[in-house]
Amino acid sequence: MGSRVTFFEVEILDWKTKQQLCFLDKVEPCATISDIRLMFHKSYPKWYPARQSIRLDPKGKSLRDEEILQHLPVGTTATLYFKDLGPQIGWTMVFLTEYAGPLFIYFLFYFRMPFVYGLDDKITSSPHPVVNLACICHSFHYIKRLIETIFVHRFSHGTMPLRNIIKNCFYYWGFAAWLAYYINHPLYTPPSYGQKQINFAVIMFLICEAGNFSIHVALSDLRRDGSKIRKIPYPTKNPFTWLFFFVSCPNYTYEVGAWISFTIMTQCVPVGLFTFLCFTQMTVWAKDKHYTYVREFKDYPSLRMPIIPFLL
């Protein structure tokens, strides 16, 4: 005689109206929320799993895919609430769109398309070498990001709400247009300290890009086996990863560094403003991540700060 399995019954209610949307009977106790999402999707084809927020309370936090039904604080008839998160878009698509935009928009200004600076300056080129250098650096930065998105990054969440990508594209593409406009302008003024300033900026830029790439590779290697479990990142043999001794998110540190160097290279206020905004946003993300690590791991290195060694 095998052991008798008590099947669960799951009713799914709308979080706002409390109307019963779906009733699933004969659900295995070891079924995961992911399985329940798939079952729900069968009844409502337009609500694919990524769009479903399934929670225990109408206003509660969304349950993770990996959660197992019998381990939840529910009786054998479980009541779950559903909220539609709206159309979702995969992280890969998000990044490709967000990064391809600035790459191409910058070129419109660099090559002085007729509609940009007026017909007198159409398709001319700048007399300043630093303008060509800036184009190379800007493009390198975004091409590197595109390559990383396709080959390096491993994302923990599948998707993001679609309305966010509209907002983000306005922001990234808008800023790219604004800064490209001034750098490639016929009346552009090269940096005050001349070649010394430019050389310094280029070296700093290359170091930060190499650093940023090294960190992304190191983080990706932590998940090489495809697991979704968080692990503490540690410095490797690569000197660029030694920043891990001092900060939790050196990728953000290097990213801000790259933008600072680009600001120095071009001596352009819009670039400076963009750098400042990036720094603010990344500090918020870094602090978030840092405190998540600290909460999750008792032995987390105490020397580490979120984004700036010893300071922030």
């Binding site: 929670r55 709400p161 001034y182 552009y188």
Partner: protein
């Protein structure tokens, strides 16, 4: 900005009872005294302004030159209102810092970056319009806060606060927009607050187009604020009729 992992599900957060307790949390005696003093001072200031304006008109029979006479008082009391943002930030007033910040900023902008800086429009009718609107609004608002803090709010003040705005709000917006519009030709001619290329910062700023954008921004913002006030009015004056579907 690409947001980090956002899944849209609310944080669950504090229960309704906790929120109620927070709102009813007693202000310290010092904070209350400070706020009462502040609101009395502001009521008095705007009353002084109203009286000065009325006197000028009665004596001179015209409003030409009125702005010049009252400008110091106006600037002082309107600028002092920046403290209200601090009150919200510190927590002694339970309003959003952002909302208060936007409201105070728009007033500071009008006073310092339009009427103070572009002298040629100081005798426009639209300036008198928004000055009168602001004066009546602020006297009502600050006396409302004062009496509220003293727990002795006469009904007519409450009535005024939640009804005057119906006319005053659109009138004030009209005054402000007409004033900015009148200022445009002078901004274009003098290039005030503008930065042209080439310059070593590689940036430019055209105050003329900036003002046009400011005027355009009234279109989405004004209805939102107006309907918010109307909703507040229904809630306060007609009390329990609206029930939050919150069970």
């Amino acid at each position: 900005m690409a947001s980090s992992e956002e899944d849209g599900a609310g944080g669950g957060g504090g229960s309704l009872e906790e929120k109620e307790k927070g709102r009813k949390r007693r202000l310290g005696a010092l904070a209350t005294a400070w706020l009462i003093g502040y609101n009395i001072a502001m009521t008095a200031g705007w009353l002084v302004l109203a009286i000065a304006m009325a006197r000028f008109y009665m004596q001179k029979g015209t409003y030409k030159g009125l702005y010049k006479t009252i400008q110091k008082t106006l600037k002082f009391f309107q600028t002092f209102a920046v403290l209200e943002v601090v009150h919200c930030a510190v927590g002694i007033v339970h309003t959003s810092v952002l909302v208060t910040g936007v409201q105070v900023s728009s007033r500071i902008f009008m006073v310092w970056f339009i009427t103070h800086s572009i002298k040629q429009i100081q005798n426009e009718e639209s300036v008198i319009l928004f000055l009168v609107v602001w004066t009546v609004t602020e006297i009502t608002r600050y006396s409302f806060y004062t009496f509220n803090l003293l727990n002795h709010l006469p009904y007519f003040i409450k009535w005024a606060r939640y009804n005057f705005f119906i006319i005053l709000y659109p009138a004030g917006v009209a005054g402000e927009l007409l004033t900015i519009y009148a200022a445009l030709p002078y901004v274009k001619k003098t290039g005030i607050f503008s930065l042209r290329l080439p310059n070593k910062y590689n940036v430019s700023f055209d105050y003329y187009y900036f003002l046009i954008i400011v005027m355009a921004s009234y279109i989405p913002l004004f209805p939102q604020l107006y309907f918010h006030m109307l909703w507040q009015r229904r809630k306060v004056l007609h009390g329990e009729v609206i029930v939050e579907k919150d069970d």
